[in-house]
């Protein structure tokens, strides 16, 4: 797929125009009539539906409370079966979690439901009636809404302008004003508090998410798909989201909640469908299941939740950051006087909601961004604003946040990617020439040691899966025993197996005596791995805690901008 955003935006826009220019459409109209809209040859006539219904029992009179039924969905991509005869059922007025590792096929299934993909085979029934969804426009017409993981909002517009964007049937002049009332009304009804006149760029991630939900509701969504909705939220914001979902349930909406976090499933869902490798493992009421069972279903084996961690043997300070200031890409202050230090054999975790200066902090330490004030000292040497190569050569490993964009060169081979940053030094480079023998030898060794699944060392890196790309980056960065490892979101988006392995590797590095600066949005990860956790908010450190003494609530409050100890 090319960039999804424009396509979605365009089709949404056109969909709404279609809907609202057809005067008969309104939110409370029966679904049946919607299906009689001219939708081309694809909508099957009654006879056909009946015939199909015989083959598949579900859409009968008995299952009136079934809002959505997807039967035997098959979707293959070149080389992968993303969905293998998946059957998925959502009832009216339930929160249904769709649980699975990355690559299990959850998002593919939902993209089929939202019309972004077409299934190779299989059927979709809404309220017992067979439908065909070929574009997001169809999905919206069938009252399906989707909130994507990465919000699709126009930052410079107001909330109301974003909601009205692409919505037809609004007055030509000041269309945004026309929906302000509606937004307030929905806000009252569902607890979606947000000021219609606020500009989106002023809003927190949680508020932006509410705008996305309002967008879906204004378009009449009965079934709402939320793709990993908590990944950008603080614990408190997640709690608020869960309350909103409760309200929506009470109003008769069905919510599909895509996640790979077990706690959330237990907290919010009525039922859960577990997927693994494109297949449904089971659909169960959450009341009848516990976390370890779900984890086992999801991964296919027992999962250790706690990693063994040796006591922290703090050595000398490997990294000292003093009163560090830096600007963001937009030229605004992103770091405002940050100070901390990391010792050898210690993991310092940096917690915080994305976009509070973590990226800039990592970049300044690794030499990719200029510090406007302050000092970065690595192993006693001042490396502030030194060239990234100089800093790397001093023994600073950097596991970058943007794996594909920054961590690898997609077109180049696995072997060539494994020597990036070290390509200018022996044994890989003698004078002007590369030593291809040494490169190959190192590649074979690294592929074996880090279990990088690749057809060969010559395979272009872009063909590897996310987990294997991260293993490649770790293999490269951790070779040569770096004194300091700066790891930005090292397990973000990886499956449970790879996550576990990468956490183990980080702990091994710590035991070896490396100092590790771990930036993560995953509080559980920080609580498991870090020896100390510092919380960053708007470019300042709000406070520092140890995992033993800290509660999630306390960290959450700091992530939301409350300084430690200030709170009553």
């Amino acid at each position: 797929m090319p960039k999804g955003l424009p396509a979605v935006a365009v089709s949404t826009h056109r969909a709404c125009r279609t809907l609202l220019t057809k005067k008969q459409y309104s939110a409370d109209q029966p679904v049946r009539q919607l299906d009689s809209l001219p939708t081309g040859p694809a909508i099957l006539d009654g006879a056909m539906t009946e015939k199909r219904a015989n083959a598949h029992p579900p859409p009968s009179e008995a299952s009136k409370d079934v809002a959505l039924l997807m039967v035997d969905i098959v979707k293959t991509f070149p080389g992968v079966v993303a969905n293998d005869r998946v059957t998925f059922e959502v009832r009216r007025g339930e929160v249904h979690a769709l649980l699975g590792e990355n690559g299990a096929g959850k998002t593919t299934l939902m993209n089929i439901l939202y019309g972004l993909y077409q299934a190779d085979s299989g059927e979709i029934y809404l309220y017992g009636k067979r439908v065909r969804i070929r574009s997001p426009r169809d999905a919206i017409r069938h009252k399906i809404g989707m909130v994507h993981q990465h919000f699709k909002l126009v930052a410079r517009h107001t909330v109301a302008e974003n909601v009205v964007l692409g919505l037809s049937g609004t007055p030509f002049l000041a269309p945004a004003r026309a929906v302000e009332g509606k937004i307030r009304e929905l806000g009252e009804l569902y607890g979606l508090k947000v000021d219609p006149k606020a500009h989106v760029w002023q809003l927190s991630a949680g508020e932006q998410q509410r705008v996305e939900i309002i967008k879906a509701l204004v378009r009449g969504a009965d079934i709402l798909i939320l793709d990993e909705p908590t990944s950008v939220l603080t614990p408190q914001e997640s709690e608020e989201l869960f309350k909103i979902l409760e309200r929506m349930k009470e109003e008769g909406h069905s919510v599909i909640f895509i996640t790979h976090k077990l706690d959330e499933v237990m907290a919010v869902a009525d039922r859960v469908t577990v997927m693994r490798r494109g297949k449904v493992v089971a659909t169960l009421p959450t009341a009848e299941v516990d976390k370890p069972t779900l984890a086992k279903m999801m991964v296919g084996r027992e999962v250790v939740f706690r990693l063994k961690k040796a006591a922290c043997a703090r050595g000398n300070e490997a990294l000292v950051v003093e009163n560090l200031w830096a600007l963001s890409d937009r030229g605004l202050p992103a770091l405002k006087g940050i100070s901390f230090s990391v010792c050898r054999g210690e993991i310092l975790g940096i917690a915080g909601v994305a976009g509070n200066g973590q990226k800039e902090l990592v970049e300044v330490i690794t030499g990719l961004r200029r510090a406007t004030r302050g000092r970065v000292v690595v192993l006693g040497d001042d490396v502030t604003n030194k060239n990234p190569r100089r800093i790397a050569d001093k023994g600073v490993a950097h596991i970058p946040e943007e794996r594909l964009k920054m961590g690898i060169v997609p077109e180049m081979s696995v072997a060539e990617n494994l020597i990036l940053k070290k390509h200018h030094r022996p044994p890989f480079c003698r004078g002007f020439l590369l030593n291809l023998r040494a490169v190959r030898r190192f590649a074979r060794h690294a592929i074996e040691e880090y279990e990088i699944m690749t057809p060969s060392p010559e395979t272009p890196a872009k063909l590897l899966s996310g987990g294997n790309i991260q293993r490649l980056i770790l293999a490269r960065e951790l070779s040569g025993e770096p004194a300091l490892v700066v790891a930005a979101h090292p397990t973000y988006g990886l499956d449970v197996g790879a996550t576990e392995q990468i956490r183990q590797i980080l702990l091994q590095q710590r035991e070896r005596g490396a100092a590790i600066l771990l930036i993560s949005e995953d509080l559980e990860e920080l609580m498991t791995l870090a020896d100390r956790i510092a919380v960053i908010f708007e470019g300042e450190i709000m406070g520092e805690v140890t995992p033993e003494e800290a509660s999630l609530e306390e960290i959450g409050l700091m992530m939301a901008g409350e300084k430690r100890g200030v709170r009553a």
Binding site: M1, P41, A42, P388, H423, F432
Partner: protein, 368 residues
């Protein structure tokens, strides 16, 4: 996945070598077919035209030598552009860099007073340096001031072309040329040796072949080549790895411009033996070399093949003019069409098109 009418498009990650070759040939074949329409519209039978072209270019020693003569500047410029394009430095300025080399060679031949045995080596050396200098200026502009490389390299062509015009109308106008806008003829010791009964200045051809092999080795086997490829494929990764864009850009344009400069030396010292109007020194070789490099898809060795192909097209252009009484500019039309279709098939390399018929794939029409 995308859908257009009854077709479904599927993303392809890595096109195979055969696919690249096959689709490139497809582009050339489509261009040839369209050309035959132009021939036909001109009142010339396409079959007759192609057979005449084939007979006179590929069928005679003279024709083959003409192809080689045209290949030399295309090869040198093309190899240089392959290097630049690998770093995603869009050098559109080979034409100007070629002329810079020609100017430097002319200075050595007519005004330097360098003794005879050193004259030709000095021409190549200074020709390379002049082309490299003309190439490095846009590199510095790009890295230091974020000036768009396409625009600056293109504009530098015009500056150099007018500089050449000024030289031949002004200070360098040859006293023995009776008012024509030429320099004087180069002394004999500044003439490149030719293959017997041809205009193939073989030293330049040899340099071109060596350049192709060397460029291939630089790209695959050296630290510089590695850094060029990293910077070209992923600027973010290059930044992350501490690879300096200034260094890569300057090196790339030094090689690219320098090789184009050598092509300019070959043209004035091997064929014209004097500096003359810029569009007579080069028949747009620097521009055609862009297609040569594009078709070679990042491989300097492949540029040997593709420059031969365009050498053939230039030679055929002469033939079209003489035998078929059509304008020589027809080669530009042909070059343009090949480039057009090459860029067109790029799409097919990364998307697999499948016909699914009406039933399954009629998204656009319904309901709107």
């Amino acid at each position: 996945m995308k859908r257009i009418g009854p077709f479904v498009l599927e993303r392809r990650l890595a096109p195979t070598r055969t696919a690249v070759l096959g689709y490139s040939l497809l582009a050339i074949v489509i261009a040839l077919l369209l050309m035959s329409i132009i021939f036909w519209a001109y009142g010339v039978s396409p079959v007759k035209a192609y057979s005449a072209i084939g007979r006179t270019t590929l069928g005679t020693r003279f024709g083959l030598m003409e192809i080689l003569r045209r290949t030399i500047p295309l090869l040198l410029c093309g190899v240089g552009l392959v290097i630049a394009f690998r770093a995603k430095f869009w050098n559109i300025g080979a034409e100007g860099q070629l002329l810079a080399g020609a100017v430097a060679a002319t200075w050595v031949a007519l005004f330097s007073g360098i003794p005879a045995p050193w004259k030709i080596p000095a021409m190549f050396l200074l020709g390379f340096a002049a082309g490299a200098l003309w190439g490095i200026i846009p590199a510095l502009l790009k890295v230091k001031l974020q000036v768009n490389d396409v625009i600056s390299t293109l504009m530098m062509n015009y500056i150099m072309a007018y500089l050449v015009k000024w030289l031949i109308y002004g200070p360098w106008r040859g006293p023995s040329m009776r008012g024509f806008a030429y320099t004087d003829l180069f002394p004999r010791d500044a003439w490149l040796p030719l293959l017997a009964y041809s205009k193939v200045h073989w030293p330049t051809l040899l340099i071109g072949l060596v350049a192709a092999v060397t460029a291939a080795l630089i790209l695959s086997r050296t630290r510089l080549g590695y850094e060029i490829r990293v910077a070209g494929d992923s600027p973010d990764a290059a930044h992350y790895a501490g690879i300096g864009f200034l260094g890569v850009s300057v090196w790339v344009m030094l090689l690219s411009g320098g090789l184009a400069g050598l092509a300019g030396v070959g043209e004035v010292a091997g064929i014209h033996h004097r500096l003359l109007e810029p569009d007579h020194v080069s028949l747009g070789y620097g521009y055609t070399a862009i297609i040569v490099a594009w078709l070679a898809r990042g491989s300097p060795m492949a540029a040997i093949i593709t420059s031969l192909l365009f050498g053939l097209i230039f030679a055929a252009g002469d033939e079209i003019k003489v035998t078929l009484q059509m304008p020589f500019q027809i080669t530009n039309v042909f070059n343009g069409m090949i480039l057009f279709f090459l860029i067109g098939v790029e799409f097919l390399l990364y998307w697999r098109v499948r016909f699914v018929g009406k039933g399954k794939g009629w998204a656009g029409k319904a309901g709107s």
